[in-house]
């Protein structure tokens, strides 16, 4: 089963995603994608670690090439956080695949994760509503994340947006 949670910055996406996965699974992997560079990233990682404390999650990291990722064991649930970081890593970091075929690369990676769990909860982001014009690379990033999100929603059993910590379902509300 695949569940996708989206939302803007600080909208309670992670807390909701954790709540959902804990409902289904006891033996969970938190798969982090944020590269721990800089003070801001460290701060975010620390906040998320605190959120997960005592909630029976193993933690592993995967920054690029999710299709080749193999967890140390089989899990009931995997929580992937988050697609927007993963895409940025693939597009802009030295180890990433670059711009070509990156959307498929990430979707293949997500298919790969499904082999290792019964419930996959995926966190992604809403970054599409500021009406700004950015340089080509950023616009391309937005476009690709939009495409990936459309694919994920389409292929998921349930999908919802977190708004002020409240889940607004788009599909599969009974599963959330």
């Amino acid at each position: 089963m695949k569940i996708v949670i989206t939302g803007g910055s600080a909208s309670g996406k992670s807390a909701n995603a954790e709540k959902i996965i804990c409902k289904y699974a006891k033996n969970n992997l938190y798969l982090a994608t944020m590269q721990p560079f800089g003070h801001e990233a460290q701060k975010r990682i620390k906040r998320h670690l605190e959120l997960r404390q005592g909630k029976c999650f193993d933690t592993e990291e995967c920054f690029t090439n999710l299709a080749e990722f193999k967890p140390k064991k089989q899990y009931d649930g995997i929580l992937l956080e988050c697609v927007s970081n993963l895409l940025a890593n693939e597009m802009f970091s030295p180890n990433g695949i670059g711009f070509d075929n990156v959307a498929n690369h990430i979707l293949n990676g997500i298919n790969n994760l499904e082999k290792y769990c019964k419930v996959l909860v995926i966190v992604t982001s809403e970054i599409f509503s500021d009406g700004e014009n950015y340089p080509y690379e950023t616009m391309e990033y937005c476009k690709l994340l939009g495409q990936i999100n459309q694919n994920l929603f389409h292929l998921s059993n349930a999908a919802a947006e977190s708004v002020c910590g409240i889940l607004l379902p788009y599909k599969g509300a009974n599963l959330l």
């Binding site: 600080a10 309670g12 500021d130 708004v163 002020c164 409240i166």
Partner: protein
């Protein structure tokens, strides 16, 4: 009763609040009144040291705040912090609010409680 009204800019949040809760423009003046307009602007101009304390200080009010977190993450740290704190404050208010409404093009979507 605590009410949180969120949505993008220029979506008719204030007009809706006036209609639903029988408010007039004077009710929105300052931070001590029964209604608060543009909470995100207040957060931008003031240093919020504790999200929970600040949110709790807004209990029993009708609070209007723009949703500002649905864009590309700003490179500027101050702008990024502003988005982050505004989002966290709204999550906190929503957790104890009786009613949360999201407004799009003047249309209310009641996402918590009942009106």
């Amino acid at each position: 009763m605590t009410v949180l009204i969120v949505g993008g800019a220029y979506q008719g949040k204030k007009e809706l609040a006036k209609k639903l809760f029988h408010l007039n423009d004077n009710d929105f003046v300052g931070m001590e009144n029964k209604a608060i307009y543009n909470l995100h602007e207040y957060i931008k101009l003031n240093n919020i040291t504790d999200v929970s304390d600040f949110a709790n200080s807004l209990k029993n009010k009708i609070i209007i705040c723009d949703e500002i977190g649905c864009g590309v993450v700003p490179i500027d740290k101050k702008l990024n912090d502003w988005r982050e704190i505004t989002g966290r404050v709204c999550c906190e208010i929503a957790s104890f609010a009786d009613i949360v409404i999201r407004v799009t093009a003047g249309m209310p979507q009641v996402i918590k409680g009942r009106i």
